[in-house]
Amino acid sequence: MNLFKRLLCTARRKSPWIFHLNSGSCNGCDIEFLTCLSPRYDVEQLGIHLEGSPKHADILCVTGPVTKNAAEALRTVYGQVSHPKAVVAIGSCPATCNVFADSPSIDGPLNKHIPVDVFVPGCPPRPDAIIEGIARAAQILAEGKATVGTEEDSSL
């Protein structure tokens, strides 16, 4: 492995930029997610930075069970994050649809639409757990083991 590749691996682990996407969450997970970014938890120590545009991000943090309205937007935003990228599913909803399962307006779970690398279970999960999930996703990016989506997704 040459020097630049080694540097790049360290950089990917130390500089995970995240983009937050709500795909129909009840807002419980969103409140916990925003708490992570507050001075109390100080995620900047791990290099985590919330980005305004999905094109700048490395890790897509998704909350919510994926409503039918949100499914298309979800795939578009996933396609806009440039490679290499990872997805963190925050809460029980993206993993299993939780209490919204079998609802006619839900088209979940999340991994039906995009590949998910880390699941953070909980309803809602604690901020510590969310930060650990993001750190694991960063590690996955550094090791180059992130699940790659289809060509259609990446060409969006």
Partner: protein, 303 residues
């Protein structure tokens, strides 16, 4: 230009010095913000890791002229900033030519123009809103910035940077330096003048569509802009002692103090609206312009 001169241009304060200094200033900016918010903040190497990581990311391919222009703007920004930094009279030296102040002003304006064009080239709605805001704010602060530099130049009777730097401190010069410092937050899109790249409000402003290495260049251009602006103020503020070591120490001290002051102000203030910003710079600009004109006329009458 002999080899010695070339080496000096490259190293002091050329590319090899400017890059680490730019990353260091970006780190100080984030660290000061963290300290104001009672956090620990990012590790020392964070801006460097961010840069390397962005270099390793895919860049979306855009065909034709759009793609070429999109790649051109960040390169032009970084290039012009490196040029501006190499013009700064960091240590007493004989280089510099008559009128290099005018070239410096032109080079310092380049990133702003490139940012406006980048937003419009991206054809993103958020990019265009950001570009429009940047264009308006650029017109406002540039008036004050140029009036301030003209005031300083008129009070010293020269447009040559090394002569300006070694000139005496006059009240007119102090006023000019204060005006330049007030322009820096708007020039660097920092709070309270962060309307053009208003994070989250208009996604990422003109840079919404940028990714990977192109975004890395924009981040670098921002860091280099910091170096150029703080360097300009520091070179105008410090008296030249004749000793290279002492000069460099004073220069670094003043530049660092300025970074801490501006980053602290940015962390402690909220984003203001466009009309308040325009009004602020219009009033201030008028005052500065009158002062510049008056000083110019007075010095002409005196001789």
């Amino acid at each position: 230009m002999n080899l010695n001169h070339l080496l000096r241009e490259l190293f002091l304060p050329g590319l090899l010095v400017a890059l680490p200094v730019a990353w260091f200033i970006l780190w100080i900016e984030r660290k000061v913000t963290a300290m104001v918010q009672q956090r620990i903040g990012p590790p020392f190497m964070q801006p460097f890791w961010d840069f390397v990581k962005l270099l390793g990311k895919d860049v979306p391919s855009r065909p034709g002229l759009d793609g070429a222009l999109t790649r051109l703007w960040p390169i032009l920004s970084v290039g012009s900033m490196l040029g501006a930094i190499s013009l700064l009279p960091v240590a007493p030296r004989t280089s510099g030519f008559a009128g290099d102040l005018i070239l410096l002003i032109a080079l310092l304006e380049m990133p702003s123009i490139c940012l406006v064009l980048a937003g419009f080239t991206s054809r993103s709605l958020f990019g265009q809103i950001g570009s429009a805001r940047e264009a308006v704010s650029s017109v406002c602060y540039s008036l004050v910035f140029m009036a301030a530099l003209v005031t300083i130049a008129a009070s010293q009777h020269t447009f040559c940077l090394p002569d300006l730097a070694s000139g005496a401190i006059t009240p007119m010069r102090c006023l000019g330096i204060i005006a330049i410092v007030i322009c820096i937050p708007a020039k660097l899109h920092m709070n309270p003048f962060s309307m053009p790249n208003a994070e989250q409000e208009i996604y990422a402003g003109p840079l919404t569509e940028y990714a990977g290495a192109e975004l890395a260049l924009w981040e670098l251009a921002h860091g280099l802009e910091w170096v150029a602006m703080t360097g300009l103020v520091a070179s105008l503020v410090i008296p030249q002692t004749g000793s290279l070591g002492l000069d460099l120490l004073l220069f670094s001290g003043v530049a660092l103090g300025l970074v801490v002051l501006l980053a602290g102000t940015a962390a402690a203030t909220a984003r203001i609206t466009m009309d308040i910003s325009v009004r602020f710079y219009a009033r201030f600009g008028l005052l500065m312009a009158i002062l510049a004109l008056a000083s110019g006329l007075l010095t002409r009458l005196k001789h």
